[in-house]
Amino acid sequence: TTGIELTYLVAAALFIVGLKQLGSPATARRGNIIAAVGMFFAIIATLINQSVINYEMILVGVIIGSIIGAIAAQKVAMTEMPQMVGIFNGLGGAASALVAVGEFWRLLDAGDKVPFDATFVAILGVFIGGVTLTGSLLAFAKLQGLVSGSPVTFPLQQPFNILLFLSFIAGSVYLFINPANPELFLGLVGLSLVFGVLFVLPIGGGDMPVVISLLNSFSGLAASAAGFILMNNMLIVAGALVGASGIILTEIMCKAMNRSLLSVLFGAFGSAGG
């Protein structure tokens, strides 16, 4: 496993160099390739982990995913790039959430009492990953014109959101005390998906790229949360890198539009609620 950890270290370093180079016009393309090489190393290192033996099915999954990803990347029009990034991002968030759900399920099935730590990070992973998935899908639908791009508000929206969030907290606390409760856990998964929709609903079309950038940061944090569940440093490092750099990029994008992040996220409430 020393080899695996060292390869992860190389991958993490390549991600950092890649991100750095992506920020400057002269090196951006090379930076992207460097990051891709880092990802290749991370995947290869994971495949030689001795607990990974399900090679046939994994190969099928990787091939299906690669074909879909390659075709989508090839077909998309240049003007539709932000929403394409949004949908890729949503899928990444979904993958992290599925990892959180799957690992929590495995711990439940194992029969022992699920440790507090594991329950906490599983809920965190499901929450961030779920919000990333549905938030990104709605952002895609808005930019693509599948639904109205204008901010959507409804009466008592904020009290409703707060009430829903409090019930999520209450459910989480109950799950800490009594983790052997798959129905409640699935309820929290469902609520997380609803939060993603509620989060993006009041935000307008022009601000959507900023929201996609913020959701991109979330998907990094979701990957980190999955890393905490599996105690895997590769996930934690790469997720934290994307989470932090995503926040900075979101701020830069807001500034370029002469907006503040708060006004992007809650602007609709200010104008409607007055």
């Binding site: 991100l19 951006a28 990974v52 399900n54 999955a226 599996l230 890198l241």
Partner: protein, 95 residues
Amino acid sequence: MTTGLLIGLVVFVLASFVGFEVINKVPPTLHTPLMSGANAISGIAVVGALLIAGPKEWNITVILGLVAVVLATVNVVGGFLVTDRMLQMFKKKGA
């Protein structure tokens, strides 16, 4: 707090600082490609997916893991390719 969790937290905080520092002045034309490249990196979820899909048996965890492998691979492959396409365009325009 377990030792593993503690080490994870240290790694997380330090990596976050690197993430904050690595992005400086980015010209507006690079905002979307940078977002897209970072998004491809967040496809690192594929590592988690591979790990939980790893055992050679059929149960809920393995099935969820395999679905996650597909989704994360779309994120990784699509993410890096679409970023490269965007950056290629810039080069053509500049030339």
